[in-house]
């Protein structure tokens, strides 16, 4: 009897703690400045936005943006902690306070707008198919009755469901797993953002990209819902990056060879 009462009290205390910590949250920009570093969620399996190089260093367009933000905040681009996120866990990471900001190829959708604040668009992406070199598939239309890999939490999960309801979707947690699924014949195609598919083709000569980019939508940087001060700061930084040529430089650095396939926001 006594142990049961103890268990109930413990659960109640834990719940109370949850509510308390949620209520005591304060302005992110203030917290970041006080802490002395920015904690940013970036991808690690999404070329050319966020990957890890052979030396274990985070590299990519989004990673450069994170460093640029650190420089603006602390005049030192190293004052940023990069946390690896996936399409599935990035918004929960933000909501739970593990990260201050998501700079990780988040497509802006109305659904997501209800739970985070988005910056102005900084990239436009459609979707393409990644298939084995020998595949005869030319577009999503050819995927009726086939197996299509998508990443859990990515918008293509919904897109494929709507555009090709006759396909069987198989969902993975990471880009790398979806690629392995195509290589191992587990899926006939993998559908994701055009830019990542084009980059994956460069690294995997046994695969090819097919289709014309469909459902183009913008990427935004995301901060916690209601944090208008911080999102305004982010937008100011993005505007400044466009004015001073940083954006153009990053664009050339990462997208020069596939530029013809991209829509500039």
């Amino acid at each position: 009897m006594r142990s049961r009462r103890l268990a109930i009290v413990t659960v109640a205390l834990v719940l109370a703690g949850l509510f308390a910590s949620a209520a005591s949250a304060q302005s992110t920009l203030e917290t970041v400045k006080k802490r002395g570093k920015l904690i940013a969620g970036v991808k690690t399996d999404f070329p050319p936005f966020g990957t890890v190089d052979a030396a274990g260093k985070n590299v990519g367009f989004d990673v450069d943006v994170a460093h640029r933000f650190a420089k603006a905040l602390f005049d030192d681009e190293q004052q940023v902690e990069l946390v690896a996120v996936t399409s599935g866990n990035r918004i929960p990471f933000l909501q739970s306070g593990k990260i201050d900001i998501i700079i990780a190829t988040v497509t802006i959708t109305d659904e997501r707008r209800q739970v985070v604040e988005f910056s102005e668009p900084y990239f436009m992406s459609g979707s393409l198919l990644l298939v084995p070199k020998a595949s005869s598939a030319r577009s999503l239309d050819d995927m009726a009755g086939k197996t299509v890999a998508v990443v859990q939490g990515a918008i293509q999960d919904r897109d494929v469901e709507q555009l090709q309801p006759k396909a069987t979707r198989v969902k993975f947690g990471k880009v790398s797993e979806a690629v392995l699924a195509v290589k191992g014949g587990r899926a006939d195609a993998y559908v994701h953002d055009d830019i990542v598919i084009l980059s994956l083709v460069k690294e995997n000569p046994d695969l090819k990209a097919v289709g014309t980019p469909f459902m183009p939508r913008p990427y935004g940087i995301a901060v916690r819902k209601g944090d208008l001060e911080f999102i305004k700061w982010v937008n100011d930084q993005l505007a400044r990056m466009k004015q001073d040529g940083t954006y153009e430089r990053l664009w050339k650095k990462y997208f020069a060879d596939v530029e013809g396939n991209l829509v500039k926001p």
Binding site: A25, P92, G153, G184, K225, E229
Partner: protein
């Protein structure tokens, strides 16, 4: 203007809407872990008996298997079976890949549990059975193994509970079980706390049911024949 993040507002209706899908996932969790439990218990017992009766070579092979599968993460085993084997030309279905990895992993533990059980049966039992006119095989089948199973039962039960919870790892290979469904729902509606909380509750219910089942089975095996 402070512009601080809003406090988390709980929305339990998200659980209600997701419940049919969650229960569908729980169905697959029960199926895959249920089948895995039976196979892993049988395989574990067979291996343990083999180490006690067969020659040194078999014992060595079983030892190698046990050490290999106990000392590597289950997730790696699942990935090797699902992603690795197709590159060597063996493509099992996602269900069989997940099931195979779960069985091999759990059976390695079960083999050790049953071996300890077999070794705990007093030597006199074996001698008494033989002098009573039973053949060595009969002695094993009717005297030694039943006692060993009874001794091993509590440890076996713990391992089966672990197996049930470990089945959540097959979500990584696209198996639409409870963990996968929880991910799938919360990645789209972002009600992280509510959905994972509900999934955790379902796991608790499943484990409690399994524990009850095991207790009934234990009393049955403990009853003198």
């Amino acid at each position: 203007m402070t512009g601080g993040p809003a406090a988390y507002a709980f929305e339990w209706s998200a659980v209600w809407r997701g419940l049919p899908y969650l229960l569908q996932g729980a169905g697959l969790t029960v199926l895959i872990s249920g089948v895995a439990m039976v196979l892993a218990a049988a395989l574990g017992l067979a291996l343990a008996v083999a180490t006690q009766t067969a020659g040194r070579l078999v014992r060595g092979l079983v030892d190698a298997y046990v050490e290999l599968f106990r000392n590597t993460p289950l997730l790696i085993q699942i990935f090797i079976v699902y992603f690795g084997l197709p590159q060597l030309g063996l493509r099992l279905s996602p269900f069989l890949s997940g099931l195979g990895a779960l069985v091999l992993y759990a059976a390695a533990y079960n083999a050790e549990i049953f071996r300890a059980g077999l070794e705990a049966v007093p030597k006199g039992q074996h001698e008494a059975a033989l002098s009573g006119g039973l053949s060595p095989a009969q002695a094993l089948r009717f005297v030694i193994v039943p006692q060993a199973v009874r001794i091993a039962f509590p440890a076996l039960g713990n391992n089966l509970v672990s197996l049930l919870k470990n089945s959540s790892l097959v979500s990584t290979i696209g198996m639409v079980e409870l963990m996968f469904v929880a991910n799938d729902i919360s990645f789209n509606n972002f009600r992280t706390f509510e959905i994972y909380g509900a999934a955790a509750l379902v796991y608790v219910i499943l484990v409690l049911a399994l524990t009850r089942l095991l207790r009934v089975a234990e009393t049955r095996t403990a009853r003198p024949a």
